[in-house]
Amino acid sequence: MQARLSRRRRAWWLPEIPKSALMRRRMLWAYAFVAAPVVALLVFLLGPILFSGWVSLHRWDMLSPVSEMPWRGLSNYRYLLTKDPVFLKSLGNTFFFAIGGVGANTILGLGFALLLNSRIRGRAIWRVLYFMPVITAPLALAVMFAFIFDRNYGLVNNVITAIGLPRQPFLSGPNQALLTLVFIAVYQFVGYYIVLFLAGLQGIPQDYYDAAQVDGAGKLQEFRYITLPLLRPVMLFVVVTNTIGALQVFDLVFATTGGAPANSSMTVVLHMYNTAFKFSRMGRASAMAFILFGIILLITIVQVRLLRDRAYQD
């Protein structure tokens, strides 16, 4: 009776204390080991996030003491959403980059994975070729493409002018810079998504296709009613992770255009970097980080709901 009462009194989050001294000692050690990563997580992950949130409500140049940051309330957020044309432009550019990149990576990734899953010659070589850009340093790729897409000396322009098409500005053109960046990003990452889709395809039992063939299904019907539904968990992972990565794009833009010409390829994270380190406006940059975080969270929730429910239903 007494034991039952004491168990009732114990708060829900408190562990049950073992009676044996050995077990108590073991439990203490277990908690000590768990405490180390928990403390590291709090200090190095949660701490900076909370600090960044606090900074976003202030004006801070990173040089003055933190204790002297002037309070600005929500004015950093208000400024970004109503008065900063570069932020709004970069937000639009980032969405364009994400939609273009995710769409192309998903369609091309699945398409190439289907090809590689069929009985084509030299499958291993194709897989290596598609995956090579993934393991290449992003900055090296960016510099290489800056040369390839150069308006005057670039390889691509040499090819298209040789076949009679007009020379294009690509990265130096305000209407083409962003589209060219999407192309480079797709080239860089499509191999990774091919591998994911390929793994998903190889996990689909052959029995389903055999049964469908017995029922007289064609290739398109097999794809529509077997492959696509069973690939939805992979699709969910591809779309969500690719969207998050695309919305945070930085290195590629930093190394190729730097947001030029005239901010036509500026993205949110690059604008955030410039605002923080070039203009010493850490409060405004932190507010950008939180707005971007909110957008990513919202989009991810929508994507997960849309794709997960159907995946489980199927």
Partner: protein, 432 residues
Amino acid sequence: MRTQRMLTGLLLCLLLIMGAAAAAQDTTLTMLTHWGTEGQLAAQQAIIDAYMEANPEVAIELVTVDFGELRTKIITGRTAGISADVYHFYHLWLPDFVNAGVLAEPPQDSLTYINDNVAQGTIDAVSTSDGQTWGYPTEVNPYLLVYNKRLLAEAGYDAPPANWEELKEIAAAITQVDDTGAISQLGLGVMAGWDSGIVHPFSALLFSNGGAYLSEDRTIAEFNSAEGVETLQLYADLVANGGTDASISGLGDFPSGTVGMVIMAPWWRATLRAAEGIDFDTEVGVAEIPVGPSGDAPSSIAYTWLFAVDSNSPNKPAAWDFIHWMNAEQEAGAGSAIGDFLVNALGAIPSFNHDQAAFAESMSDHYVSAFVAASAYAQPEQIVAGGQEIKTLLQVEIEAVLAGMTNPEEALASVEMQANAILEEHRMMAEE
């Protein structure tokens, strides 16, 4: 047991040796600069070695980063509590650093030495509006028109342009476009993507057109004037007549001999001397900035850099002593160590009078001598809190005009509004 004793003994010996070494050099200074090429590193290290030989109790560590990362390095270093003792930085950042308490005030001896040996205009460039000087000025960089004599001659011109009509005419005549639309040769090169490379040449042209950047009291932007619009219209006209194109880099392609003209600073001499596409002695010419329709005489802009000490440095006296040693004349008529470095390793103009006298011969070549002459009339870049942000905003709008995305009136009106808001914000913060 014996092994344990031996290990303990070894550890003690090691600690003793390290302690002795630390006692021998009881002051360690870190110097942060942006001079990072192999030759520049060796020249700086030679200066440091000479100082350490004369002052064995001081150890100096040199850290260099690219110019594009220098401000970030200073800011993040201070935030992380690992800031350098001695900085060499661009004077436009001075008001921001001073407002944030980054810099230590120089000792009176240093201030007296600077006042006695540097021209007042250069001292003003490293001082805040309250008259406080914050460090030893180093290079002075006015901008001039650097041109390729061979390309001008091939286009039928034996003299550089003296006004904007000539500039447009010569630039268009030099430009060559092949059948496929590729630009194989360009008249006037711009330096898109680099704020100083865009805004300094624009300012040099603006001043040569009788315009101003900021008001004299530096409280409002003045580049959105009739003179400013004319200056930006010049860029639009040059794009329209093919005289310039932002897809060609003046900085990269002038040394390769495919750009006819570029508006640039003296420190480029080392690059031009080493260039394979242009002969420095016979093909590189330097001329005054062409005068605009509203201007009456050539003018230019000049910026400078300075050595200063971090206010958090635990070794401020040693840091100031080192800076003074680098900038002071060791022997009468011999010039300073930094003066020698600036003139001979960089091709820049030193700030100190004794260096200008000692290295007069090295600065007498056809390239640097023109910049020395221009430094007498070039207007110092106006430094103000938020100046870097205003400069970047202006760079973006000039590039928008070059890309045909906007017109000069709209571009300058947009930057003026934002620049005035930034100036107002910093004024209010100073009052807080």
